[in-house]
Amino acid sequence: MVTDPILLQTAAELFPNGISRYAVGGLLVGLGTVLIYLGTGIPAGASTFLESTLSYVSDQPRFQQYVSSRDWRVVFTAGIVLGGAAFAATFQSGLVSSSLYQPGTTGQLYEVAGVTLWTTEVQPWRLFLGGILVGIGTRVGKGCTSGHGVCGVGSASKTSLVGVLTFLTVAIGTAQVVAALGVSP
């Protein structure tokens, strides 16, 4: 039976925030990707922005291959930032609510001009050091969670499936070790 209380309890423990906000958010991420692909044929990833934007300020030959795409990648990234801001101004601020959206209890909320904003409690050194490794790793590994994880997996690309399995496994191991060392948040 679907209403087995033990099953329900297990699900509640594994998904303390339900699954709808994750599934709906994922559908929207996919929809954004599809819209761009539909019009342009480009399966866009988010991490190439790092290298393509560096081509404005660096003459390293490695970055020059992205000169032709760097302008629209800035636009794509500006869209992502403003999409996050649109979310903050609506659901995060409580202006709009839905049974599909469950707010979280992580981090710190603060208000600016009536908009509820959110900031992380994860320590800056973790973000900075992690960021450096993310910057190196996504570029060496040919993609990130959107390039490999969304577009690559959506393309049933074996390279991307291997890439996702690699970074997912290593990330789980790393996070477990960091937590075991007592680093929090």
């Binding site: 994922g26 399966p43 030959p61 291959q65 636009v75 794509f76």
Partner: protein
């Protein structure tokens, strides 16, 4: 740039908006939520990544059968296929350590700035520094992997 369709840039922008809104809605813009997944405390994250992959997968499979080329660019509809080599494993592992340490990946970091997370600037600074370091290093050792494509 000048010969681009006038709707090219607006479409990219709207696509980015929806993409970023989805990352906010799914709470992937919160490093804590990603770290909770990696520590098996909240298994919601795969619904985001694979939910998005299923939606894009349907489009990637169907569009090439419906049309030959994209209306705004004339670019043929192709799947995102990258050649496999050792870099995919090495880079994936380095990315994995960074993701597991910080709970942040590129797209989610941009959206995180949008939801007000100014502390994320540390991660963004780190990402640019990391991308620069690998570019500087690979520009010096440019004998291998010259087959990089511009599509992604």
């Amino acid at each position: 740039m000048s010969d681009r369709h006038p709707l090219f840039v607006p479409l990219i922008f709207v696509g980015g908006l929806i993409f970023g809104f989805g990352l906010g809605f799914s709470h992937m813009a919160r490093p804590e939520v990603v770290l909770d997944f990696l520590q098996f405390e909240d298994l919601g994250l795969p619904f985001v990544m694979f939910g998005a992959a299923i939606v894009s997968g349907v489009a990637f499979a169907l569009l090439p059968r419906i049309r030959d080329a994209a209306p705004l660019t004339g670019k043929p509809y192709e799947r995102r296929l990258k050649p496999f080599d050792r870099n995919v494993l090495v880079g994936g592992a380095i990315f994995g350590v960074g993701w597991g340490l910080s709970g942040i990946c590129p797209g989610a970091a941009y959206a995180s700035l949008g939801v007000g997370n100014v502390t994320i600037l540390w991660a963004l600074a780190g990402m640019f520094l990391g991308a620069y370091l690998q570019g500087w290093w690979r520009s010096r050792t440019r004998t291998r992997d010259t087959a990089a494509t511009g599509a992604d």
